[in-house]
């Protein structure tokens, strides 16, 4: 069985938005207990990240390091805007989807990590989808 649900959100500038509860909600709604969960955003200047929940400072570090590795520069070939050009690269490097294992109705990573929608060129109106594939108990 395959169950897909789409969510909307308004992002901030360079913001990580926690979406773990929405993913859990989709899983519960699907009724699927074992299988695979894919979370994906269709945008090329945004992404989906799986990040440790051990300390808020980790989020700050991630945002800071992503900016350091792919800064908003004026000399990219893509000339929309520095934020936008860097956003495309961040999305390609860090990924716009994650695949997760679902076991006994729970995410395998649930105890240690959260899921985040990563905005690289916000604020914008965005969507992402949660697709649950597997068998109902």
């Amino acid at each position: 069985m395959v169950f897909t649900k789409e969510y909307e959100l308004v992002t901030g500038r360079d913001l990580l938005t926690k979406i773990t509860s929405k993913v859990d909600e989709a899983i519960k709604e699907s009724g699927i207990k074992d299988g695979i969960v894919v979370v994906e955003t269709r945008y090329s200047t945004a992404g989906i990240l799986k990040i440790s929940r051990h300390g808020e400072e980790i989020l700050d570090d991630i945002v800071r390091e992503m900016r350091r590795i792919v800064p908003a520069r004026i000399n990219y070939y893509h000339q929309d805007s520095p934020e936008n050009a860097a956003g495309h690269i961040k999305s390609a490097l860090y990924g716009s989807s994650v695949s997760l294992i679902l076991k006994d109705g729970r995410l395998y990573c649930e105890d240690s990590q959260d899921l985040y929608f990563a905005e690289y060129d916000g604020p914008r109106n965005r969507t992402y989808a949660v697709c649950v594939m597997g068998e109902k108990a």
Partner: protein, 377 residues
């Protein structure tokens, strides 16, 4: 009097503003989006220059530039930029200042002179013109063509003035976006609002024309017209004043509210001077403008107020042209010149005076005095 017998160029241009705005917007946006990020980023200061209406478009766009780009922006008369401005203001750092030069034909000697001066000292230049093959178009580093159809009716300037403003606003948004002063969402919303605001206002023009015709009949024999406006609305006031001269050769003056209270207030025969005040609620000097309007009332001058405020804000003896409020205050100059354009057009028709005094050959002789000399200081 049948209003329809007094049709005129300014009225026709006003009535077709929405259509032309869309043409300009569609032509300009893809060109503006190609302005390279590096050079846009490098600009530490912006100058906007041109002659007549083109320079006024720069004044009208000052608030937009400063609000959206956060860069100091100086509209400057072409002769002041080309002959008087000190060299130290040009090319003191790579690609700076950014100098935007406006000329519909692209052939004005003074703006070409400005461009050559920028090239000499290393300032970055963008031309706004309807003729990219013109001297100005070729002299500037980048050229934005306003894309107005050739051969249409553009004199006295109204559509061309709007084309310059729309282009300037879109350049400002491009700069703001590149410099991350506005987000993608904000930029998109502002771009959309440009055309939507023009469309919303367009719905008012049939009613405005009716009232403008009635005012024209009352004002046709006045001694002079006196215009008042502050900040970007100063451009609207000045533009109205220019139309008085271009349309029927009338006597006119313009000022900001503060100086008006110090100087023009004392003009003689106030009851024979038509006063036009541009007073928008979001103008920082709105209270001073209202004091000015109160002074006009004391003087018993016939008065037209152009505003985005409610009519009840002003004395009931005054004729108020109320505009829909723009979502972004800096967009108001796009349309607020329309009521007086209509009045000026009708006065000229009622008086039977052709635009630019074409009935008097002495005025045509001006062309003979032009040498076309370009001096690069």
């Amino acid at each position: 009097m049948d209003r329809k017998s007094y049709d005129n160029s300014l009225l026709r241009q006003a009535m077709s503003m929405e259509r032309y705005a869309k043409i300009v917007y569609d032509a300009v946006l893809p060109q503006v989006e190609k302005l390279p990020m590096k050079e846009v980023w490098d600009a530490q200061k912006i100058f906007i220059s041109g002659c007549g209406d083109s320079w006024l478009a720069g004044i009208a766009a000052k608030a937009a530039f400063e609000s959206v780009t956060k860069i100091e922006t100086n509209p400057m008369r072409a002769i002041e930029f080309s002959r008087i401005l000190s060299n130290k203001n040009l090319g003191y750092s790579p690609n700076t200042p950014l100098v935007i030069l406006i000329s519909f034909s692209g052939s004005g000697s003074r703006v070409v002179e400005c461009a050559r001066r920028c090239n000499k000292y290393g300032a970055n230049t963008i031309a706004i013109t309807n003729n990219p093959d013109s001297l100005l178009g070729k002299e500037c580093r980048y050229c934005i063509c306003t894309g107005l159809p050739k051969g249409d009716e553009y004199q006295p300037g109204l559509i061309t003035y709007n084309a310059s403003m729309i282009t300037l606003f879109l350049i400002a948004l491009r700069i703001g976006r590149v410099r991350n002063k506005i987000s993608y969402l904000e930029c998109e919303d502002m771009q959309k609002e440009l055309l939507e605001h023009i469309s919303r206002c367009q719905k008012e023009y049939e009613g405005f024309a009716e009232r403008a015709f009635a005012i024209a009949q009352r004002w046709k024999d006045l001694k002079a017209e006196d215009f008042i406006g502050d900040y970007s609305d100063y451009a609207t006031a000045y533009f109205g004043s220019a139309k008085v001269i271009e349309c029927f050769g009338g006597y006119t003056t313009y000022d900001d509210s503060e100086d008006w209270c110090h100087i023009n207030y004392f003009l003689s025969d106030p009851e024979r001077i038509g006063r036009v005040v541009v007073a928008n609620e979001d103008t920082p000097s709105y209270k001073r403008l209202k004091e000015t309007i109160a002074a006009v009332k004391i003087l018993q001058s016939p008065c037209v107020i152009i505003s985005d405020a409610k009519k009840e804000e002003f004395p009931d003896t005054m004729e108020v042209f109320s505009f829909p409020k723009a979502k972004y205050f800096w967009m108001q100059p796009l349309v607020q010149h329309i009521p007086f354009d209509m009045i000026a057009g009708y006065i000229a028709e009622i008086k039977g005076i052709p635009n630019f005094r074409k009935d008097d050959e002495r005025y045509a002789a001006m062309g003979d005095q032009r040498s076309g000399e370009i001096v690069v200081l």
